[in-house]
């Protein structure tokens, strides 16, 4: 009982929750505005992680700097994928109808390519580096600096994005595209521009998450898939395309996972995550936090 009430456990839950929220944020933005099922999303987390690892081991750049590099690399990939693959597909109404299903296959291909390019460049063995790993104790809670940094950066990006969506005209136009794509066009939203910026931002968010992961965990070219799964669980629990609810669901999944494991054992991790997923699909398939407002 003492462990359950400890700040230690809460801190651990918030760290993984913020990370899940951040990984899912990018996926949700891309799904919401472009209706693309990006199953290579976790591989972008991996690309971000390797960018930070490469920058650290080759140029001694700390993650606080290479995080920008990782975001830029992933945003560049987003640009390439949009301009090279999806721009024309989405502009053609007949092809656009099938793009949601086809995107699954296209992104599967991208996933395989990314994993193997990285495996060829860095070999398949796991990598890691040490950064801010000294333990600090604060208010009775012991934490490593890198985990604290993970919590701060991931939360800042998530809540910063939510504020942006709430208070800027561009944010509104993005929400307009999510809510009613055709109406957004009618109003005069530049659909192409919103889509391009969103895919770049969504990919960049995955790159940031990857940098954060690389500070605390061993990385491999095949680390991405579990992140893809977690991100899909989070956005389905929150409600597809519902950005704010997705962030909330990310934190909830972190709490469920951490406290669930504390009550049972680490062997139950997958059961907890998939159990939550299946329960939500059975009970509230439209998402736990989705608003009922639809006209």
């Amino acid at each position: 009982m003492d462990t359950l009430l400890s700040g230690q456990l809460l801190f651990a839950a918030l760290v993984s929750g913020s990370l899940y929220a951040l990984v899912a944020l990018g996926l949700n933005l891309v799904y919401g505005t472009l209706r693309l099922l990006n199953i290579a999303h976790g591989d972008l987390v991996m690309i971000g992680a390797y960018t930070a690892f490469g920058a650290f081991s080759l140029f001694h750049l700390p993650p606080v700097i290479s995080v920008f590099l990782a975001a830029a690399v992933c945003a560049g990939l987003g640009w390439a994928v949009y301009e090279g693959l999806f721009r024309r597909l989405l502009a053609n109404p007949t092809l656009a109808k099938r793009v949601e299903a086809n995107s699954l296959i296209l992104f599967y291909g991208i996933s395989v390519i990314l994993q193997n390019v990285v495996a060829m460049t860095f070999t398949a063995s796991s990598r890691g580096y040490q950064y801010l790993d000294t333990v600090i104790t604060w208010g009775g809670v012991s934490m490593t600096g890198n985990r604290l940094l993970t919590l701060i950066v991931a939360s800042a990006v998530c809540f910063g994005t939510l504020l942006f969506l709430r208070h800027t005209l561009f944010g509104w136009s993005l929400r307009a595209v999510i809510e009613r794509r055709e109406a957004a066009q009618v109003v005069g939203v530049n659909l192409n521009r919103v889509q391009l910026i969103t895919i770049c931002a969504g990919f960049a968010a995955a790159g940031v998450a990857g940098t954060l992961v690389s500070m605390t965990e061993q990385i491999t070219p095949f680390m991405g898939f579990p992140f893809t799964i977690v991100a899909f669980v989070v956005i389905i629990v929150g409600g597809l395309g519902n950005i704010g609810a997705g962030v909330l669901a990310g934190f909830c999944l972190g709490l469920v996972e951490t406290y669930g494991i504390a009550l049972t054992s680490p062997g139950y991790r997958s059961i907890l995550i998939y159990g939550l997923f299946v329960a939500v699909l059975l009970i509230r398939p439209e998402g736990v936090f989705s608003k009922a407002v639809r006209s």
């Binding site: 109404p93 007949t94 005209l169 509104w172 136009s173 929400r175 307009a176 809510e179 009613r180 055709e182 109406a183 957004a184 066009q185 009618v186 109003v187 005069g188 939203v189 530049n190 659909l191 192409n192 608003k291 407002v293 639809r294 006209s295």
Partner: protein
Amino acid sequence: MTDTMLHVAGLNAGYGAVQVLHDIAFDVARGGVTTLIGANGAGKTTIMKVLAGLLAPMSGTVTFDGADLLRLASHDRVNGGVSLIPEGRMVFPGMSVEQNLRLGAIAPAARAGHDEALQDVFRRFPKLKERRAQLAGLLSGGEQQMLALGRGLMARPRLILMDEPTLGLAPVMVKQVFATIAELRAAGFTILLAEQNATVALELADRAYLLENGRIVQAGTGPELLGSDDVRRAYLGM
């Protein structure tokens, strides 16, 4: 000679292999109401979609103030002064009334005068001012239509395309929508109105076109079509 604002010629359009519009040609004169009447499925909404840039036609030309409209993307058409009030209102349900309206002024050309435009819309539709903080999805059908109209006006259009603005509204609201259209005409707006509600639309219209199965079968002034036997028989049930 009347001053033509929108000129449509030889327009063919459809969805996939199904052709809906056949050789459509009509003009919209500056300052006044032009109406397209016709039964459900006659092709009114398809014409509106082509004009707004939501559907690429198979062939044909559309010129707006002498410039080729079909070459422009939909947001550039809004920026150029063509604004569609779509069928079924299409407000953004999860956003407030005010956010919906402000989004209406997202076109660069409309952004500068954006606050006066908002006050102007609130003067025209006091109900929207009362409900400015409410989610658009919670408004009644009539209020949503007012919102869609207001949102279209925020773009400072020179040509307003209205697609079935009275569809599914209570009689009181239908009256109010037509009163608003008359006010907008008096204020100097040019309006292209697609309506099923033929009598009222024709009474209001300076020029009218009758659509049947994707073809324009009759054209004339509002009173002319109102007096035409074809129209009376087919659409007015007289």
